[in-house]
Structure formats: C-alpha cells, structure tokens
C-alpha cells in the first residue's frame, strides 16, 4: 500500500509539471490556433532564468594571492561572492533561496520572450498549415536550445534547495503510520502545491477578470468578438506571453529536482503534447486532468510488481493510454467538437 501511495505522489508531482506545460500549450492553441513546438523550450528558458539568477548573485570578486600558487603555477585566485560582501547574511539567504527569488526574474523575462516570440515569428504563421507551424516552432526550439548551450555549456547546472526544504518529509507519521513508511522529498511537495497554485491562478484569471472573459469569448468565436470592436489579437498576444510565463515558472521551480541543461525542454515536450491530445485539444481543464492522470499512471506502471507482469510497460503506458483514449474518445477526455477537425 505504501508503495502505491508513494507512486501516486510521484505521479502527481510529475503530473504537475506536465499539466503546467500542457496548460500553456492549450492556451496558445486555444487562442491563436498555433501548435507550438517551442513551448518546451520556454520551460527550459524558465529553468535557465533560475540558473542566470544564481550566476548573477554568486558573481565573485577574484583577488590574486601574492603568496600562494595554483597547481599550474599561476597566482591562486581567492574568490568571494559579491552578494556576501555587500549584503552579509542576507547575501547568503539570497544564494540559498535563489530558486524562489528567481521567480521574480522569470516573470518579466518570460513575458517579454513570449510576446517577442509571438510578434516576431509566430504571428506570421497563423494562416499557414499546422505542419508549417510545427516546423517553424520546432526549428525555433532548436535555435533556443543551441543558444542556451553556447552560453551555459552542455552540462547540467545544479540549483540549490533552501535548507528548510532539504530532505524528505515523513508523511506517514502525519497520518498515524509508523516512521519512514511514507516519506517524500519536501521540495517535490512544494512543487506539487506550487503547480496547483499556478493552475488555480490561471483559471481564476480567465474566469474572474474582464480580460479573461474576453479571451474566453475570443477562444469560442474570434470573429464575433472582433466585430464588437475589441482588439482580440492584442489580448491573444498577451495570452501567449502568459503561457510563456506559466511554462517558465514551472521550469524555475523544477530546477532543484532536475539540474537543467539545454535539452530539458525537449524531454518534456513530447509528453506534454500527448497530455494535450489526451485532455482534448483546446481544453484547459482537459490538459490539467490529463497531466495529473498520465503522471500517476506512468508512475504506477513503473512499480516492480507491474513490470514483473508486463516488462517495459512503464515506457509505453502513456502512449498506450493515448491510443486507447483517442480510439474511444477521438476528441480527448474533455475536447470540444470542431477543434482541429476542419
């Protein structure tokens, strides 16, 4: 039983990342009708906002020692982070909490990147076939990851977890079980609640604001909204920026779990598309539901007891479910009639 609970937690945690990326993908598809293969790269760029923030706050003053030499005979470099010099203990706190703090950097940066991407490239492909949209956005993703590699190298860049969230929480004890039966990494729990929070914020934004109302109306009937004198294109551009922010924030918070490198986006992209397709193209609740569902199913399928019966099932289960759902419900779990059917 404890093994099942742990795998469900794993699935929810993983599903949180899938859902956040898929949510952005669905938003873009629902508003602009674009199949954006560069969306995984936005997740990766968000992660590298955290890397950049940490690099900035750990910039070091380098003083060459007059007495000591390095092993290769040059004067030894004595390095002290500027943040420590300037801010003392607060500098250390900044470094320790660099991941949460970098959310503040990621929001404007990702909003800018999203809007620039939409205005600079993607808007020219609105009326082109989906195949061309896929090609151009996939190409864009490759360009972005090569740029990141040129700046940050190919190796993973580890990011710190704040001390308070280090290690695992004993969840079993909290519900009256014995010690160490159900333990789970604290940061992963933080990530799960963070993803739920972001999802709730996006839904609330679309549901309870005038801006959201217009966007939802535009998603249902773009022409009618435009005829009412509303500049729907401008709002959709902002939605693209918001989708980029959601993917970026998901990337930032994922960095302590998976030290990011330039391939991070591609690792999530394919699964996120499956999530969107299973959830139903253009359906935001569908994307969230499918994200968590596929995450949990994938984790349960990798249990030893399951793999002993069907070896390798953990590698194909998501695709298997996608096939079954598309056979039974061709529009996905919560897909609407008419989306991508013309």
């Amino acid at each position: 039983m404890d093994a099942i609970i742990l795998q469900v937690l794993n699935g929810l945690d993983k599903g949180g990342a899938y859902a956040l990326i898929a949510l952005g993908l669905t938003l873009v598809f629902g508003t602009l009708g674009v199949v954006n293969f560069a969306h995984g790269a936005l997740f990766m760029l968000g992660a590298f906002c955290a890397v950049t923030f940490k690099k900035i706050i750990t910039l070091e003053q380098i003083v060459l020692s007059k007495t000591e030499l390095s092993p290769w005979g040059t004067p030894l470099e004595i390095r002290t982070p500027y943040a420590q010099q300037w801010f003392g203990d607060f500098g250390n706190v900044l470094i320790e909490y660099s991941v949460p703090f970098s959310l503040l950097l990621a929001i404007p940066v990702m909003l800018f990147i999203g809007i620039a991407m939409e205005r600079g490239i993607i808007k020219h492909f609105y009326k082109r076939p989906h195949a061309e949209q896929i090609l151009v956005t996939f190409g864009l993703a490759i360009v972005l990851q090569e740029i990141v590699k040129a700046f940050f190298g190919a190796n993973p860049n580890p990011q710190p977890i704040p001390q308070i969230f280090m290690g695992a929480a004993d969840l079993g004890v909290m519900v009256g079980m014995a010690e160490n039966v159900i333990t789970y990494p604290k940061w992963r729990l933080v990530y799960l609640f963070f993803s739920l929070g972001v999802i709730a914020a996006v839904f609330a934004f679309l549901r309870f604001t005038t801006f959201g109302l217009v966007v939802r109306a535009g998603m249902s009937d773009r022409e009618t909204v435009s005829m009412l004198g509303i500049n729907i294109d401008k709002r959709f551009t902002i939605m693209f920026g918001i989708a980029a922010v959601v993917a970026g924030l998901a990337g930032v918070m994922y960095t302590p779990i998976l030290p990011p490198d330039y391939t991070l986006g591609m690792d999530f992209l394919v699964l996120s598309f499956i999530v969107v397709v299973v959830g139903g193209m253009g359906s935001l609740p569908g994307a969230v539901l499918a994200g968590f569902m596929l995450g949990v199913v994938q984790s349960l399928a990798s249990m030893t007891e399951v793999k002993d019966i069907i070896p390798g099932i953990d590698q194909i289960i998501i695709y298997l479910i996608a096939v079954i759902i598309l056979l039974v419900r061709p529009r996905g779990l919560l897909g609407k009639r008419g989306v991508m059917e013309n």
């Binding site: 404890d2 093994a3 742990l6 795998q7 794993n10 945690d13 993983k14 390095s70 092993p71 290769w72 005979g73 040059t74 590699k149 190298g153 190919a154 190796n155 993973p156 860049n157 580890p158 710190p160 977890i161 290690g167 695992a168 160490n180 039966v181 333990t183 789970y184 990494p185 940061w187 992963r188 302590p256 779990i257 998976l258 030290p259 490198d261 391939t263 690792d267 994938q298 984790s299 990798s302 249990m303 030893t304 953990d314 590698q315």
Partner: protein, 448 residues
C-alpha cells in the same frame, strides 16, 4: 700512350657514382630501422602527420568533448616542440624529441561524434578519406568507441580510444587497430569492492539502478560480481531508460526494499539526476537492516560531478585519473593544461593526451608510420611517468593495465575543481584479469 694509374678515368667515375647511389639510396633502408616500403592509407610521405580527433562537439557530452579537444591541442603543441613539453618530460621510456613524429610536423583535423555511433563513424570516415587523417582518436562513449573501432579496423587506420569504460571495447569487440588507455568496468569492480568492504562491511544488501544500454550492463555485472564476492547480497537490479530525467518512480521502490546500499550504474546526465534525486528522497538519511543506507556511483567524472553539486559529497566511486595526483607525470600535465586554459584537466582530457603521446612514441620506436608496425610497437609496451604508475598496453587485448583510483566526493572542497578526493590508488595487480574471459578476436595486422 701512357696509362693514367692515379688519375680519374671513366671507369672510376662510373664505379664511384654507382657506389654513391647505392650508399645514398640503399644504405638507409638497411641501417634505418623501419624504413618500410609498404604503401598505406594517408602516408604523409614526408609531409605533415595528420591526426583525426573525433570528439563530441555537440550533444550532451560536448563539454567533455571540448576538454578532450583541449588536451589534444596541447599534445600536438608538445609533440611539435612548443610549450613546456608536458609529459614529454616525464614519460619513460620516451623517444619523443619535440620535433613532431619522425621529424614530421604534427597537425590535426576534428570531427563531431555527437555521441552517436552513426555520426561518429561518418565523421571518422570523412577524416580518413577526405582529410587524410593517419589515426582516429577520442570519444566519450563505449557505443561510439566500438563502432568507430570497427570502422578503423576495416580501413586499416589506428584508433586510439578516448573515454570508453565498457568491457566490450577491449573484450568481445576488441580490434587489432583499436587501443584503450582508459580503464573498464571490470577494473572498477575489482578496485572498488575491497574499499566498499572496508568502508561498509561485508554484510550488505545492494540495489542496482542501471542504464539500459551496453555500458550499464557490463558495469552492473562487474559491480554485482565483485560485491557478491565480498559477501554482499544483491536485492534487485533495475534497468532505467537512458536520459530518463525523473528517476522518482525507480527510487521510491528502494525506500522500503530492505536494501542498504544503492548502486547507481549511471553516467553523465543520468548519474547527475539519479544521484541528486536519491539524495532528495532522503536515502542517505535513512537506515535499513540497522545500517545507514549508502550510495555508490561506480564511475565518477569530475565534469559530471560538477552537475551533481553538493550531492556527491561522501559518495564513493572510481576514476581513471584525477588532477590532484602528485606523481611527476600528473603534475607536469596539470601544470601545462592549467597554464594554457586556466583550470585543471578532466580524466577524459588526460586519457586523450596520453593516447596521443603513446601513438607518437610508438611511431618513433617503430621508425615508421606504417600502421602494422606501429601496432606492434604499442602491443606489450611498458611505460611510466604518465599519471597512473607503471603501465602496460597488453598485447592480447590492447587494454592498458595500470593503477585504478577509488575516489570519494570531497566533503570540503578547496576550489570549484576540487570535487573528488582520492581514497586509494589500487595497484594494477589487483585489477588485472585474463584476456580470454571477455572473448573477442583482435583480427589481422594487414588489411586490404
């Protein structure tokens, strides 16, 4: 008419000229060892000797490839008499004079393996067929090494492998034209097991997570055999997909499995992720069977260790070489490399640098660039002063035998490069094995 007895006549001129021609043209082939008449692919015929450096310049191992390329560039400089000479000053015996190879200047071309077998073979073939490369060297993957080595055997071009750790490279897939300086998984197991016994005792239960490809299988087999030989029990071995990213679903079953040692048979990004996540799951904070749970990473690399950050502290593993070694060869190499680039070399850089010098020295000893003779010069060659103590290129499988390092993630690093501390330099005798246990055939010296 008088005879001219002491003067010059036509017959004497002819005799002298003939003798001169014979002396000038034939004597060197008699007295100069290895002046071979054979034709061979990419014979520079007195021009520059071109070396082909086939390293990952793109893809996940491109940082390691960049370090290999730095080492190769340095080796070429030293061979041509530039810089401080590095290991040319410490290598014993050495026939290298800093005047290139056999007096011919050394130059190089590069290829990008992308850490993909097909791409690596294509770039190697391009360097051989188009760029005139006399040898191919480099790489960061056993799959690539085995694939390129097979190509080089077909083409009669010597392959001096870079970083490749699978037993197969000099085992079932060994080739006459392939040579490996790097150690292998068997050696890792043989070196690591006694240290594991000393550190963690002989009553342990191991759980393996293993990369699902050739290197992972051989690594798992080697460690499993070695640890079971010291009394450990293997609870379970689980294969994980290469490039998995999130290992949580493979780590959670370990928590209550009863295992008290986790062995991560992963390399590169997989190692970084599985180790980082194992620590986050609190494995090292737990106990099983009344003992602290320990994590072992059999193959460590400093470049990869950087990616794991704090999480490598205290973790045991093995390495081919580390820049902190204090023998004269290592110090000379670190000094040259550090002065050139501002940071110490990785073990991949070390093995590539050494391979280049060993090839050059073999050519000097053979007195020719003719591959079969260079191969014979390398086979069974014994040398020292290159960082791992007395070393031998075993003739039977072209595997170098030397001391192996057992290392531990440094708990108190003095710099960003000081990530691994050497726990023990395991003597060569402890990691040697019979060449026949892994099978394979070297193949012929002469290829058409």
């Amino acid at each position: 008419m008088s005879n001219i007895k002491n003067g010059v006549n036509r017959r004497k001129v002819l005799k002298g000229a003939t003798a001169g021609i014979i002396t000038a043209g034939v004597a060197p082939t008699i007295f100069t060892k290895g002046a071979w008449a054979q034709e061979f692919r990419n014979d520079p015929k007195g021009g520059d000797v071109i070396l082909g450096f086939n390293v990952p310049q793109t893809g996940p191992y491109s940082d390691e490839g960049a370090d290999e390329l730095r080492a190769y560039t340095l080796a070429v400089k030293h061979l041509n008499g530039e810089g401080d000479g590095g290991m040319l000053n410490t290598m014993q015996p050495s026939n290298l004079k800093g005047n290139g190879i056999l007096g011919q200047k050394v130059t190089y071309v590069t290829g990008d393996t992308q850490t993909k077998s097909d791409a690596a073979r294509d770039s190697a073939r391009r360097m051989i067929e188009r760029d005139g490369a006399l040898i191919i060297t480099g790489g960061s993957s056993s799959g690539v090494a085995v694939a390129v080595q097979a190509l080089c055997q077909e083409m009669g071009t010597i392959f001096m492998a870079g970083l490749t750790h699978s037993d197969d490279t000099t085992g079932k897939d060994k080739k006459r034209y392939g040579f490996r300086h790097f150690f292998n998984t068997y050696m890792t197991g043989a070196a690591l097991a006694p240290v594991l016994k000393d550190e963690y005792g002989s009553d342990r239960v191991a759980y393996h997570l293993t990369s699902d490809y050739n290197w992972g299988y051989t690594q798992q087999r080697a460690i499993k055999d070695a640890t079971e030989a010291i009394g450990w029990r293997t609870e379970k071995t689980v294969l994980t997909p290469v490039g998995q990213g999130d290992f949580s679903q493979y780590i959670t079953p370990i928590l209550n499995s009863g295992a008290d040692v986790i062995i991560l048979n992963h390399y590169g990004k997989d190692m970084v992720n599985s180790l980082t996540q194992s620590i986050q799951f609190g494995l090292r904070d737990r106990q099983a069977n009344g003992k602290n749970i320990e994590i072992v990473v059999p193959l460590f690399s400093r470049l990869m260790a950087q990616g794991a950050g704090e999480n490598i502290k205290g973790i045991l593993g093995s390495a081919n070489w580390n820049w902190s070694l204090q023998d004269e060869g290592s110090k000379a190499f670190v000094k040259s490399f550090g002065a050139e680039y501002g940071f110490p070399p990785s073990m991949a850089a070390h093995t590539c640098y050494v391979q280049t010098l060993l090839y050059a020295d073999a050519c000097e000893r053979a007195g020719t660039l003719y591959p079969p003779e260079v191969i014979k010069a390398l086979e069974g060659h014994k040398f020292d002063g290159m960082g791992n103590g007395a070393t031998e290129y075993r003739a039977e499988d072209h595997q170098c035998f030397k001391d192996v390092l057992v290392v531990r993630g440094n708990a108190n690093p003095t710099s960003q490069f000081d990530l691994l501390e050497v726990v023990q330099e395991v003597p060569r005798a402890q990691v040697e094995y019979d060449a026949s246990i892994f099978g394979g055939e070297l193949g012929p010296y002469e290829v058409s």
